[in-house]
């Protein structure tokens, strides 16, 4: 006994410290190195090496006072070494060397710098990864890889794509950035209104992929949610004048606060109505509310702020019965006017049904079904089934539940619909 277990404990503690540093520093390091070298693969490799070295050296030498600065220095030195070996990059090496001397010994970090003393380049990286000239699936993959350090295999698993396919997608996106010369920069203020929505859409997609659990294993999905929240937080901090960034952050936090209550012990989905509200994370709801208020103070409403306001209404209700449905219906009306989205119309129908009764909701739904935009979307027949059930039209409800169950993708959603189906069938005779 004696030393071995103590050393093992120290290693595992350091492992946790490195894991934390990874979450906080990975994106900063890759963003700074891409800025300096223009070489995405080099940046990723050197960041990876720095964390590998930390895992080896920190248990032996102790955790440095400023882990971020240590990692950045190791990664940058690695980049200089690699570039020296290839003579064509002489100019870049000089640039890096200048940067290194500027960093060492400085007690006055530049504005926006963290403890690594390097200006935060992550905003450039976010805007480049989410450039509209890249396909949405490429934006999402590239953002997760370069900004959060998720491995190609992990991203593949999260999006149910083979690792080789995901690797090809990433390579193709990086080639396009280089070959078509997508600039590595934050767009000028005049272009922000046009470019920010594309970034927010990519982050929201990552979050939803984690939250909606269309398939796949739980751990990586929860992790996707956390990464999406962390990135949106960075974006909201670095773009303080963009209320939609704060709005999206608030929206994600309101949703995530309900995560524990969404699925019961058997892994079945629990509707908002039936959730155990004591399991909602009130601290997180409080943070979400502060972000939403800060966003709304900007007086420039947008779709994420409105969606967050709706999520906030649900979060504020101590019981399902106490929900302010008329307000939610009004918010959905705003949202529908703004987006013209049929999914929003579907949600509005639900809110109207709660305010004015299921018959009113059904009327809105019929109009939506006639439009045909949501054909094949399981929530359309599922919603109709719910309205019919509440109207006591059990036979029609049963066939609508059947229709919905056939369209629903995964376990929990399908199990829920089948349970309701059994319920209306038993009342039907």
């Amino acid at each position: 006994m004696g030393e071995a277990p103590a050393a093992a404990t120290a290693t595992s503690v350091v492992g946790t410290v490195v894991a934390d540093a990874f979450r906080q520093e990975w994106g900063r390091i890759t963003a700074a190195l891409i800025h300096q070298t223009g070489d995405w693969d080099l940046a990723e490799d050197c960041a990876q090496d720095a964390f590998t070295q930390a895992l080896r050296r920190w248990p032996r030498d102790g955790v440095p006072n400023r882990p971020g600065a240590w990692l950045m220095t190791v990664a940058r030195n690695g980049a200089i070494d690699r570039l020296r070996r290839s003579s064509t990059y002489r100019a870049k090496v000089e640039e890096l060397a200048v940067m290194a001397t500027r960093q060492t010994g400085t007690d006055h970090p530049e504005p926006g710098a963290d403890d690594s003393g390097v200006p935060d380049e992550r905003l450039r990286l976010i805007f480049t990864c989410c450039h509209p000239a890249l396909a949405m699936e490429a934006r999402v993959a590239l953002t997760l890889r370069t900004l959060t350090g998720l491995s190609t295999a992990e991203i593949g698993r999260a999006f149910l794509v083979p690792e080789a396919t995901m690797a090809k997608r990433l390579v193709r996106a990086k080639h396009k950035i280089a070959n078509a010369r997508i600039p590595y920069r934050v767009p000028p203020a005049s272009a922000l209104p046009q470019r920010v929505p594309g970034v927010l859409a990519a982050l929201y997609l990552v979050f939803n992929e984690g939250y909606a659990a269309s398939a796949g294993d739980d751990l990586i999905r929860r992790d996707l949610c956390d990464r999406a929240v962390a990135l949106t937080q960075v974006l909201a901090e670095l773009l303080p004048a963009e209320p939609e960034a704060k709005g999206l952050l608030a929206l994600m936090l309101f949703h995530r606060a309900r995560q524990a209550a969404r699925v019961n012990d058997r892994g079945d989905l629990v509707t908002l109505e039936d959730q155990d509200r004591t399991r909602w994370d009130q601290a997180q709801i409080g943070v979400a509310r502060r972000h939403l208020e800060a966003a709304l103070a900007g007086q420039r409403p947008g779709q994420y702020q409105i969606q967050a306001a709706i999520a906030g209404c649900h979060a504020a209700a101590p019981t399902a019965q106490a929900t302010d449905w008329p307000r939610i219906a009004r918010l959905y009306q705003h949202l529908a006017d703004m987006t013209g989205s049929p999914v929003v119309e579907l949600n509005r129908a639900v809110a109207v049904a709660m305010t004015d009764g299921p018959a009113a909701g059904l009327a809105l739904l019929q109009r939506l079904e006639a439009g045909g935009a949501l054909a094949g979307y399981y929530l359309l027949p599922a919603t109709r089934a719910d309205f019919l059930r509440r109207l006591g039209r059990n036979t029609e409800a049963a066939s609508a539940y059947e229709e919905a169950a056939a369209l629903a993708g995964t376990g929990p959603e399908r199990r829920f619909l089948n349970a309701r189906l059994a319920e209306v069938r038993s009342q039907h005779t």
């Binding site: 396909a135 490429a138 080639h175 396009k176 070959n179 078509a180 010369r181 600039p183």
Partner: protein, 238 residues
């Protein structure tokens, strides 16, 4: 008369050919056309994976990854030739390696388009081919209302962003040249039977893709057609 040769590559056919052989044919083609005074300008283009399309619908700018149309044969380069006749241009096309690697569409330029050889690239600049294409989703009658392109041309020429460009005679008057098993096959019409068709082109020189998108979005056809922006692929670059 001036003619645009639109080179396309068919990935299946191209895979069967020896690269050194193609390179030799290509070099001698360029040498000969330059010596004969036929060649005015031309370039290889980056693959369609590096293409971006730009259009404006209902006042909203829509930027998309990829080419103007999904075709089996993909536009891979172009040349502008000064020839006595369409037949002469077709003959030159039949000797270019792309006639056996894919196809070459020969399209006449209207008489009004002056011929300009391209100067050496500017420091730190990148060249793009902007293909001005029709969108089948737009009612052709709308084209009667397209704004004149002259102010856009004058402004972009003035800033040195546009180096050259022209409308093309309608695709119906095009010839497409393919060489298969040493036989030259010339067909009427464009290289692909897509509903989208190339109606013109502009060669742009910009700092980066954002500038090219900015230039493209102000082209009058952005509202009615599709603008594909594709980087030049200079020889010697990976």
């Amino acid at each position: 008369m001036r003619y645009m040769l639109i080179h396309t590559a068919d990935p299946d056919v191209a895979a069967e050919w020896d690269e050194d052989e193609n390179w030799a044919s290509f070099s001698s083609w360029v040498e000969e056309t330059v010596r004969s005074g036929v060649s005015l300008q031309g370039s290889r283009l980056r693959p369609t994976a590096d293409a971006t399309t730009v259009k404006i619908r209902d006042g909203e700018l829509i930027i998309t990854d990829g080419p103007y149309a999904e075709t089996k044969e993909q536009v891979a380069g172009y040349d502008v030739l000064e020839c006595a006749s369409l037949d002469e241009a077709v003959q030159w096309a039949g000797r270019h390696p792309h006639s056996w690697l894919g196809s070459i569409e020969v399209r006449a330029l209207p008489d009004s388009a002056p011929a300009v050889p391209l100067p050496a690239p500017g420091e730190g600049k990148i060249r793009y081919m902007m293909l001005v294409c029709t969108d089948p989703a737009v009612d052709p009658r709308e084209f009667a209302r397209v704004e004149p392109v002259d102010p856009w041309v004058a402004e972009t020429n003035g800033r040195g962003v546009r180096l050259y460009g022209s409308e093309l005679e309608p695709p119906g008057s095009a010839r497409t040249v393919r060489v298969r098993d040493s036989r030259t096959i010339v067909t009427d019409g464009p290289f692909a039977e897509t509903k989208e068709q190339i109606a013109g082109f502009d060669v742009l020189e910009c700092a980066d893709l954002d500038e090219a998108i900015e230039v493209a979005r102000r082209h009058p056809m952005a509202r009615l057609g599709i603008l594909e922006v594709r980087p030049f692929w200079p020889f010697g670059e990976d």
